[in-house]
Amino acid sequence: MRHTRWLAVASPIAFLLVWEGLSRSGILDARFVPAPSEIARTLGAMTRSGVLPHHVGISVRRILLGFLAGSVPAVAVGLLMGMSRPVRAALMPLVAAIYPIPKIAIYPLVIFYLGIGEASKVSIVALSIFFLVLLNTMAGVLGLDRAYFNIARAYGAGTLGTFTTIAFPGALPAIFTGLKLGMGFALIVIVGAELLGSDAGIGHLIWQSYQIFAVAAMFAGLLVTAVLGWLATIALDWLERRALPWRA
């Protein structure tokens, strides 16, 4: 047990050390694969100059807004689909048809409709998580034991009461599963969208660095994306624990 934990720390350090050594000794061409120390230096410089915080801030804002714009209607529609068979029958074919389309493929169309500005970035994030959260919410409601609905009805709950006291809290664990899955997709899609057509954001930073052959800066962009994903997972885990105290 202690052995494996030690290994988990040692292996990334060893990896970085070997990389550093290979790069310094010239076995790896430092122009193509800069040493970790060089990447760290670039990261520091970009942070001090304000370039990195600027781009990261823009990407984070797009993800947050997109998350809100996507998940709120997704939960509402997902609950409706879970509770009502006719609504489910009417919407399921549409959802099933649109869900598998890679959302980045819709991006040119989104730009065409909404322009190159923030609206298109927020929309593509929203779109990329909408179906995931919707399907998870619906599955969450459908998976609820009938007994819960019986309790609600026996105590006189109407449709709205059943919605707020049974379907929503009952589906919340599944909703969080959807949000966590969605976070990964949101990162993929926002960085992709920024690569394709944008004047700011992490993706844009990576693309710009490529064009001026700033390889260390490209690596710095990747590193920041990884850290962002990690922080997002922690934030969602925290939120989940707060929202689902009965699951702890």
Binding site: A147, Y148, R153, A154, L244, P245, W246
Partner: protein, 272 residues
Amino acid sequence: MTPAPAVIPAAPPGQARIAVAGLSKSYPGAHGPLLALDDVTFDVGEGEFVACIGPSGCGKTTLLHILAGLMPPTSGMVRMPSPGPGRLPAAVVFQGISTLPWFTVLQNVEYGLRLMGVPRQERRERALDHIRRVGLLPFRDAFPPHLSEGMRQRVSIARALATDPQILLMDEPFANLDAQNRLLLQEELLRIWADSRKTVLFVTHSLDEAIRLSDRVLVMSAAPGRILMEVQIPLPRPRDFGTLRQDPRYGELSAALWDVLREEVLKGREHG
């Protein structure tokens, strides 16, 4: 199809009781309708504790769900008391999953009151009062998944009683408890019942439970469920389970009921 069945909500004033006449229920099945309840007729008087006993799958739960308004009967008449302000005509204690895991004990007990629109302050006081009666005051902010099955059923009983119902419908509420906890909760239920003297219909498949708790036992047949017989339980109250068992009438009642029930259980096994 027969015309819409009559569930007449209004009861004669001051007479909180259940009246069921000619009640039948059938479910659509692969080979035509399946009869679950067949011409069930009985009354439960004001303040009476009636147990309904029958083999598994005899339609006891169906009967209770019809009385609770969870499903319509196919034909026949059900008369339940009409609702009063801040008071439910009938509150149900369910079998198995009977609490909402995402609400605290307090929120669970407040649940019926909240749906009735009872003001926050009053609803809190009434809920806390009933949580105290079932001895769960220290656990009022706990969530049901962190409690034992027995505690969860106490929460469920408190929720039902907090709505000050005219009738308490109980669907094998202690079925998932071990034998000792079951005895404890039965004692507790009788103690609480002695205070409120609610009209109770208690569905169970346990003979002992039925005799210990009730004033009268309805014996149901194997599916389709019919009322085979009614037996008065003339044992004195308050009932102490220790001395009850030594009462010769207890053994006689138990034997008489088992005679009828045994055949039905065997019948149910042949068909099931």
